[in-house]
Symmetry: C2
Subunit: 164 residues, 2 copies
Amino acid sequence: MPDTFDLMEFLPYRLAILSERVSRRLATDYERTHGLTVAEWRVLVHLLRVEAVSVRDIRDYANLDKPKVSRAVARLEEAGLVKKRRGSGDGRLVAISLTDAGRATMAEVLPAAQDVEARLLSALNATELKTLSRVMEKLHAVLDADPAARPRTHVPATENPDQD
Amino acid sequence: MPDTFDLMEFLPYRLAILSERVSRRLATDYERTHGLTVAEWRVLVHLLRVEAVSVRDIRDYANLDKPKVSRAVARLEEAGLVKKRRGSGDGRLVAISLTDAGRATMAEVLPAAQDVEARLLSALNATELKTLSRVMEKLHAVLDADPAARPRTHVPATENPDQD
DNA sequence: GAGAGATCGTTGCATTTGCAACAAAAGTCA
DNA sequence: TGACTTTTGTTGCAAATGCAACGATCTCTC
């Protein structure tokens, strides 16, 4: 056992600290102004991009488990930001979509979130951002190859499909 | 409101996903083999480096809130991995330290954690690692300048104190 | 088309979490 | 010294979490 193990230099810990700090900063805005949780925020964000989706779609895309999505959607429906109808076709699926109020809420909330991201990004130059993306993808790839790691729910489209 | 907002490209979200995935992979080992939670693991790791510390020290160093540290220590004491005595001197402080059993547990658990980290690091070359560190520090710096962000509990020693 | 198996979404439940309140001890200042 | 404030660690409590179980629906196979 090394007598010099420093948590502050341990990559997983450093990632966790940074990620948590950024998340909390973001949540500060939409939580205070609209009482949204992280799960609810992610659901709404996903709904911005698609017409109507199932719980499973949201779970995969937003990296949340089923109960979390289910309850987030329930609260959002209660709040009138989202509407839910039973799917035509497959009777198990639920078609979840934004209401006008939901879209209005996102219009109020998104700019602040994008502003936080913009400030983060503005601290990096083009090379750094590119390297960061590559590094994050490489770290994911290590976990992809690790049977003990949870699989990714959403693998990004490969830019270079022609590699080994 | 942009009609093209992709969560998958949103930096805070990408950080959260990667960080959570790495954390879970790590926790897999020490949780399954020794029933340790993340908080307990962090407490033990911190105790590896110091003789005896207070709850506050651990809170600052391991980025956990007071109740979490307090309860983690209570469980670890219950399990015999840690001992707690009232501080000589300041009567409020508690002196928390590892027992032999605690050291033995860490000797069993640390290698797996370091192995996970080593595999992650081995996917990066020297430049990438250095850039990653610099980028993470820059992102922290953005939050340091943001009054709405939670302050860092533990600011790293500056290598270059002579920059604007 | 009947039955076995898989999938979808919800709910139950024990545990954990975050935050505030609290008692005990130290520090402050007259 | 004595009142007031601050700090330390623990506890209470409402809410969130993770996981398994469940009913409902679909699919596949014979």
